[in-house]
Subunit: 332 residues, 2 copies
């Protein structure tokens, strides 16, 4: 294959607080894949809250191409596991082309669903929600579930699994539009805008019997309010704390209600999606079933072109997305 | 049996902040035990940090006798399970005599150890430390253990079990005298006075590789410092948060470092001693073995007479004890 021009996004400054456009740079690379290389043309890339701490903690290197989930199509391959024309998912987003020896690729076999769903409801986002809620959170039928950032990519899957499990579900979000989406589209029982309401008061109204599982995406004031209302043997699976990510040392607002964990024997546990690799097949089966039954809906906010990746990330950290934030890098 | 005069302590006002002597009242009761009643003359009673929240949350009733662990000797009984002269433990402390139908008594069979040890190292205090550290905390050989309130009744048992399990143990306490006790008498690896030192800096020095298990007795600033230094898959068994007990709503100082739980997949869990009833026999066997080997030491601070019970509780909440705080109610 001849030389390729691939544009990619480099991190050029570590942000202090909210990232700015100047922290990123669009760089054009000339790639010369060898005959044995697998060449992937990236179609869509994922933009995730967890990218924010990676900008500060050294996980993302300075003056190097950034990384993140992406789906693409194989355009050159001598590897029969990844034939030309097949779809793959990998962690080398933030670039138009990815050159691989195959070891970092996972094959996607779509069964009618859009390719993009493998970057959210059928991908890491969905598995994060499914594993975090059902394994780490050990949600039981009929319990009281609170979800923060409920209209986000993970939160909206968590909310819907909660309803599928016949739970009473309350969710917080940052706008009236998202409140309406949670109530009308996702069918949860109670939703409120944390920017205009008291979280503690809303939780008393929405879940008057207290909280069995708090699926934690936000931290700080959200955790302060929720932890004080946990029921005996309650669980707080900690998926993320987006409120802290823009702060120095990832510090959240102070949480003062943790003593409620003692007599109520509450468990709080951080988790990471790779802990759930062993249940991926069950996850895919359940999610496809629920999607076919119309019980698992999703939204996407799609920006266009590799040059839009920084603004997509900055927008995500300001909560401008409903559902999954994606960047389309090429036509499928 | 003829009538008995028993003096007892009533709670007459719910304290706001540190309890004061005026919140308690010494009351003299005339008891007229029936023929079938078991009469217990209380010998020693326990004073515990957990009594503080009970003063505020309604667990202790107003204008009624207070409750708490006590050991006594049976002075009247028609029940062969609790013959006259046998020793029993129960939850009706804060009074000189306890009248029972037997259902709330547990027999103590001392094997040479002082009776008082059944109110701490061989009683609820010891079982709290043993179960919280080994079951909830799942401490493994050779791990890095941090214990707050390390010179307290629970903390000093936790520290010694940590050393028995070949762990590196660091402890915090509130005076140089306690630092010396922890290092010289209990043989832990590092100890510091949190009132004069930076907790975070001391932890970096004392446990430079980070913390596998933080046995939490204090909350607030202690948790804020420790949580930021937890290692992957670390555990925080939450036994108590004494720093919060004198505050309205049992609120602690704000904890801002909880986001460290996420990628390190840290578990924090509140526990209560009654969860460990099923391991009481193993606990007694291990503790008696360790005591006989000289590897499990204890200290007692003993006040004298029922009238001293309020000051013992107030003193405990100010940290004036080393080891277990007790009140002797009668000569054994």
């Amino acid at each position: 294959m001849s030389n390729l021009t691939s544009r990619e996004i480099h991190l050029v400054a570590r942000p202090d607080g909210l990232p700015a456009a100047a922290d990123f740079k669009l760089v054009e690379q000339q790639l010369a894949p060898a005959k044995d290389d697998i060449v992937v043309r990236n179609l869509y890339m994922s933009v995730d809250p967890a990218m924010r701490p990676a900008l500060s903690n050294g996980q993302m290197k300075l003056d190097a191409v950034m990384t993140g989930g992406a789906v693409g199509v194989v355009t050159q391959s001598a590897n029969t596991d990844y034939a030309e024309g097949s779809y793959v998912i990998h962690r080398s987003g933030f670039r138009e082309y990815h050159i691989s020896d195959g070891s970092d690729l996972r094959l996607i076999e779509p069964r009618g669903e859009p390719l993009t769903t493998h970057l959210h409801v059928l991908g890491g986002t969905g598995l994060t929600a499914y594993g975090g809620l059902l394994v780490t959170g050990a949600l039981q039928e009929g319990e009281n579930l609170f979800v923060s950032a409920a209209a986000g990519a993970v939160g909206s899957v968590v909310c819907q699994i909660g309803k599928i499990k016949n739970c009473r579900v309350a969710g917080s979000c940052g706008s009236q539009e998202k409140v309406d989406h949670l109530l009308n589209d996702l069918g949860i029982d109670y939703a409120f805008n944390y920017k205009t309401q008291s979280i503690a008061k809303e939780l008393h109204i929405g879940l008057p019997d207290g909280i069995d599982v708090y699926f934690e995406n936000v931290g700080g004031a959200h955790l302060d309010a929720a932890c004080g209302q946990m029921r005996p043997l309650g669980r707080i699976p900690v998926c993320g704390m987006i409120s802290a990510y823009n702060n120095k040392g990832a510090r959240s607002e102070g949480v003062t209600t943790l003593s409620n964990m003692i007599y109520n024997r509450v468990t709080m546990r951080g988790f990471v999606v790779y802990e759930f690799e062993n249940i991926r097949e069950q996850f895919l089966y359940d999610m496809r079933t629920w999607m076919a039954e119309g019980r698992m809906k999703y939204s996407e906010t799609i920006k266009s072109g590799i040059e839009a990746a920084p603004e997509a990330l900055i927008g995500l950290l300001q909560g401008e997305n409903t559902g999954k934030m994606l960047v389309q890098l090429a036509d499928a």
